[in-house]
Amino acid sequence: MVGIIGYGAYVPRHRIRVEEIAKVWGADAPSYKRGLMLEEKTVPAPDQDTITISVEATKNALKRANINPAEIGCVYIGSESHPYAVKPSGTTLAEVIGATPDVHCADFEFACKAGSEGMFVAYGLVKAGLVKYGLAVGADTSQGAPGDALEYAAAAGGAAFLFGTERVIATIDETFSYMTDTPDFWRREYQHYPQHAGRFTGDPSYFKHVTGSANGIMEKAGMTPQDFNYVICHQPNGKFPQRVGKMLGFTREQIEPGWLSPILGNTYSGSSPMGLASTLDIAKPGDRILMVSYGSGSGSDSFVLTVTDQIDQVRDLAPHVRAQLAANKNYIDYGTYAKFRHKILKAE
């Protein structure tokens, strides 16, 4: 039996409301809130980045897994905001948790599905018997250009998953990937902010790949939406995961526990992994979960999971995602946000 033996998430404390961003750019906040189904988003503190978020999420995963970190055989961080262009984020994470030096380490990139890529590979290595435990993290301090629609959603956060074969809390029953070359969102080298292809990011990109991956895995597993208790799809805003869930035949009740984007924003590589963590926070033994990531460029990874009795033993050993979202919020104005996100360039 191979699956998740520990999971954890981390949510920064700073928040900015849609109204605060819209006020600066002369935009109509109610139409953004209604159109994108967004209320507010997380903002990383100036001393937080993909590495620090990955460390805190992993510490929470380790509290639930209760394993010796030295036995972790692979450490992967998926992100599109790695602090270094050249030097891995994962080495710092591995050093902090005490997994070095006998460990395989790599950083993954694939827009917003870099986190699920790491999960895919870590799970595969455990299943192949090449490592005892595998660690995969999806985390980002997402970039969105000032005034761009992305700025209302680009948030910060992450989730970590430990894979193993003993004391499994959710088995991985099936995996599936669906990928084509689709230039819907990109960031060129040396550019601060990503660009996107407007409405092309919708039907030919997000919806095509998420439905392609979800339908593919359900066909492979011989399952239908009615066989699942919960579904998590990538959340670039509040609207897309609701719409794609409905297109696939899922109900609002199946989507709701992992639907975080209205109050979290889009944590890019952390998005669907955080939705999965939030769903595991409330799932019961025997529940079936479908997770579908999406990364521009474009591709979707899908996982079918079944929750085991072990979930009740570990669920409360680390903070729940929604509890973190609700606790210690600090609302900031746009000026502070611009400073925190280095949107203001100072003289040398």
Partner: protein, 130 residues
Amino acid sequence: MSTSAKLKREMPQRYRMEAGKCTTCGYIAFPPRSICPECQAREFDTVILPDEGTILTHTVIRVAPSQFTDEAPYAIAIIELGEGARVLCQLVDCDLEQIAIGDPVKIEFRRIQAEGKSGVLFYGYKAVPA
């Protein structure tokens, strides 16, 4: 000394909060020492400090060293972590007017400083309100 070498050498305490516990008298040395200041013994066990504690004392830095000017004003505090272990670190994500001695805090992994725009990044521990 190269900053990379310094960063690497300090990783055990900055990354994992590894302390030395005197095998003779139990004194916790953080950062680790070669000789116990209490009993002069030279044998230490490596222990990991807990990530929760309370504020023993604190102050607010308003005129900061050059590499921290963008962060000013900011708080630094001595945190009591139990068994006599204390750490000096920044206290972040907090209202500077609301900090009080005895408040519970949690230790989090944060970026400490960056060596200019192109140098190495220093990471370590800071405290946040629990």
